[in-house]
C-alpha cells in the first residue's frame, strides 16, 4: 500500500533518514521500532508531508505522493498522530473531533451565511459521529471539557479518535503509548485492533513498549541510524544480531545473550 524508496532526509550534515526503503502492506499493523534517534519520527514526517525529503520517493498504491502537503494527504486517507499529543486547546474534546472531518459545505465562506440549513444538518450528523467516537474510546464523559485540560493519556485517545472521524486508509501512530498507563494502553490497543479488523485501517505504529508491539504488530520493522535493519515477526527481530547490537550496543549484547540462555 505504501512503498518508501531510498528515502534520505538530512538536516545540515546529519543524515536523519539515510536511504531507508520499506513496504507496508494493506490491512497490516506494522510496528516500527528502533533506538532513540533512529529516524523513525523523521520518516513519519517525510511520509506525512510535514518535511520534504532530500531524496527518495513515497508511493501510495502506486501513486507518487512524495512532498504533498499534509492536508492533501489527509484527503487521500493518510493520517498521522503526534508523539506529543496535539490538540486544539481552547476547544472542547467534541469540537476537536468535529474539526477533523472536512469537505463540509460550511467550509465555503458563502455557505456559512447562505447555505445554513445544509451546513446545520451536516453539523448535526458530525456531532453524532463525534459522540460515537468518544463513546468508542470510553471518554464520552469528556465531550464538553476543553481539550487543553484533559490528561495526557486522554489526549492520546483523542488523537486516535481524530483518525476515526474520517474513513482513513492508513494511519501513522507516533508513540501512542508514551506516557500512558497500562490500562489506558490496553484500551488504545483494543481500539487499534478493532479499527483494523472492523474498518480495515492499515496502521504503522512507532512504539518502545515491546509487549504492546508484540500484541499488535505483524510485521515489525527495525530502524537504526536512519537505515532499515530488519523486517519480520517480533520474534525474528528479537533474534536478529544487528538489531540487538543497535539496541544494546556491543557491550551489552553479550549480557542479553546470557539472559537468554
Amino acid at each position: 500500500m505504501i512503498v518508501v524508496e531510498n528515502m534520505v532526509k538530512t538536516f545540515g550534515g546529519f543524515h536523519a533518514v539515510d536511504g531507508a526503503s520499506l513496504e507496508i502492506s494493506e490491512g497490516s499493523i506494522t510496528g516500527l521500532i528502533g533506538p532513540n534517534g533512529a529516524g523513525k519520527t523523521t520518516l513519519f514526517n517525510v511520509i506525512a508531508g510535514v518535511l520534504k525529503p532530500t531524496s527518495g520517493r513515497v508511493l501510495m498504491n502506486g501513486e507518487d505522493i512524495t512532498g504533498l502537503a499534509p492536508h492533501a494527504l489527509f484527503h487521500k486517507g493518510l493520517l498521522r498522530t503526534f508523539q506529543v499529543a496535539h490538540e486544539f486547546a481552547s476547544m472542547s474534546c467534541r469540537e476537536n473531533l468535529m474539526m477533523v472531518a472536512s469537505g463540509q459545505s460550511g467550509e465555503a465562506l458563502w455557505n456559512t451565511w447562505f447555505g445554513r440549513k445544509r451546513s446545520a444538518d451536516e453539523e448535526r450528523a458530525l456531532k453524532a459521529k463525534a459522540d460515537e467516537v468518544l463513546a468508542f474510546l470510553t471518554i464520552d464523559h469528556l465531550a464538553d471539557h476543553k481539550a487543553g485540560e484533559v490528561s495526557g493519556g486522554q489526549k492520546k485517545l483523542l488523537e486516535l479518535g481524530r483518525t476515526m472521524m474520517v474513513d482513513a486508509r492508513i494511519v501513522f501512530l507516533d508513540e501512542v503509548g508514551a506516557g500512558v498507563n497500562r490500562t489506558l494502553l490496553n484500551t488504545i490497543g483494543d481500539a487499534i485492533i478493532r479499527l483494523n479488523k472492523e474498518r480495515g485501517y492499515t496502521f504503522v505504529v512507532i512504539e518502545h513498549d515491546m509487549d504492546f508491539i508484540g500484541r499488535l504488530c505483524d510485521p515489525v520493522i527495525c530502524m537504526a541510524e536512519g537505515k532499515v535493519l530488519a523486517q519480520g515477526t517480533l520474534a525474528e527481530i528479537k533474534a536478529n544480531e544487528q538489531v540487538i547490537e543497535a539496541y544494546l550496543g556491543t557491550g551489552l549484547k553479550n549480557k542479553a545473550q546470557v539472559g537468554a540462555q
Partner: protein
C-alpha cells in the same frame, strides 16, 4: 443642577467621543489581532490598509453623489462601503499573492514578515496619497446631528449641551453589528472554527485536512472588511487624511496588545481602554470642575493633564507599561 451640568459636560466631551473612538479602535485592532492569530505576524500595513479602504469608499461615494444617489439622513459612504470593502479585499488578496505567499512558503520567521509588512505599508501609503492626495477630506453628508447642543439645552433647560453626532451613533451601531457578526462567524460556523483551529495549533490543523491557503484567504477577506469599516467610521467621525491613518497604527496596536494579541475579545476591550485613556488624559477638566467644586476652589488653569498634541504619547505609554508588566495583555492573548 450643577451636578447634572457636570455630568452632561462629561458625557458630551468624554463619554460620547470616547465610545465612538473606542469602537473605531476596536474594529481596527480586531483586524490586527486576526492577522496576528492566524498569519502569525504583526501587520504594520494595517493603518494604510484602512486608508486604502477609506479611499476606495470615498471614491465610490463621490461616484454615487455625482449620480445623485444619497442615503437620506445617513451618510452616502455607508452605501459605498461594500464597494470599498471589495476593492480592499482584492488589494489584500493581491498583496498576499505577490508578497506574503512567497514568505509563507519559505516558512519565514515572524520578524521577517513584520519587516515585509512595513514595506507593504510604505507602498500602500504611497498609492493612497498618489490616488487621492494628501489633503484633509471630509466626506460625511446627510444629517449632522441626532441631537445638537442647542436643542439639548432647550429641551432640558441645562446650561450644558449634549451633542450626539450622527456619525458617532452610526459608529457605535455599526461596530456592534460587525463585532456580533465576527463572533458568530468565529464560534458558530465551520470556516470560523477552522480559522480558530488553525490559530490554535497549525500543525494539527494541517493534518486534520484544513487547507491553509483557504484559511489565509478568508482571513484577508475578513481583515479587508474590518479595516475598511474601521477606516470609514473614523473618517466619517473626523476626516480622512492619509497621514492620520498611518499614525492611527500606534493606538490600534496599543489596543491589540493591551487586550492580548490574537484575542478578539481583548482587541475590543483594549480599544476602549486606549480610547478612554486618551480622551480623559487630554481633556480639559475645567468645565466639569467648575460645576462640582465650590467657587473658592475653582481652577484657574484648564486642568488638562496633557495637550492633545501628545495624545499618541498616551497609547505609547500604555503600550510600554503593558508590555513591561503583563506582556500577554489584560485578556490573555495568543490564540483566537
Amino acid at each position: 443642577m450643577d451636578f447634572l451640568n457636570a455630568l452632561v459636560a462629561l458625557a458630551n466631551f468624554v463619554i460620547v467621543p470616547g465610545l465612538a473612538y473606542g469602537a473605531q479602535l476596536a474594529i481596527g485592532a480586531l483586524g490586527v489581532t486576526l492577522i496576528y492569530g492566524i498569519l502569525r505576524f504583526s501587520n504594520f500595513a494595517h493603518g494604510d490598509t484602512m486608508a486604502f479602504g477609506t479611499m476606495a469608499t470615498i471614491l465610490a461615494t463621490w461616484g454615487m453623489q455625482s449620480y445623485g444617489i444619497s442615503f437620506g439622513p445617513l451618510p452616502t459612504a455607508l452605501l459605498a462601503l461594500p464597494f470599498g470593502i471589495a476593492a480592499t479585499a482584492l488589494m489584500l488578496l493581491g498583496t498576499d499573492r505577490v508578497v506574503y505567499r512567497f514568505y509563507r512558503a519559505q516558512k519565514a520567521k515572524p520578524v521577517i514578515l513584520v519587516i515585509v509588512s512595513m514595506g507593504v505599508m510604505f507602498i500602500m501609503n504611497g498609492v493612497v496619497r498618489f490616488i487621492i492626495g494628501v489633503r484633509d477630506i471630509r466626506f460625511a453628508d446627510g444629517e449632522r446631528f441626532i441631537i445638537s447642543a442647542r436643542d439639548f439645552k432647550e429641551m432640558t433647560g441645562l446650561r450644558e449641551g449634549l451633542a450626539i453626532k450622527t456619525t458617532q451613533a452610526i459608529t457605535v451601531v455599526v461596530a456592534f453589528v460587525v463585532v456580533a457578526a465576527l463572533f458568530y462567524f468565529l464560534n458558530r460556523t465551520r470556516t470560523g472554527k477552522s480559522m480558530r483551529a488553525f490559530s490554535d495549533n497549525e500543525d494539527l490543523a494541517l493534518l486534520s485536512g484544513i487547507n491553509p491557503e483557504h484559511v489565509v484567504r478568508v482571513t484577508w477577506l475578513i481583515v479587508a472588511a474590518l479595516a475598511t469599516v474601521a477606516g470609514v467610521l473614523y473618517g466619517l467621525d473626523k476626516s480622512f487624511k492619509a497621514f492620520t491613518y498611518f499614525q492611527l497604527l500606534l493606538p490600534i496596536f496599543a489596543s491589540a496588545v493591551v487586550g492580548g494579541l490574537g484575542n478578539p475579545l481583548g482587541a475590543i476591550g483594549g480599544g476602549f481602554v486606549i480610547a478612554f485613556s486618551e480622551v480623559t488624559i487630554t481633556y480639559a477638566w475645567k468645565k466639569v470642575a467648575v460645576y462640582l467644586l465650590p467657587e473658592q476652589l475653582e481652577p484657574t488653569g484648564l486642568v488638562q493633564l496633557l495637550s492633545t498634541d501628545y495624545k499618541f504619547a498616551v497609547s505609547f505609554a500604555i503600550l510600554v507599561v503593558v508590555l513591561l508588566f503583563k506582556p500577554t495583555g489584560l485578556f490573555k492573548g495568543q490564540s483566537l
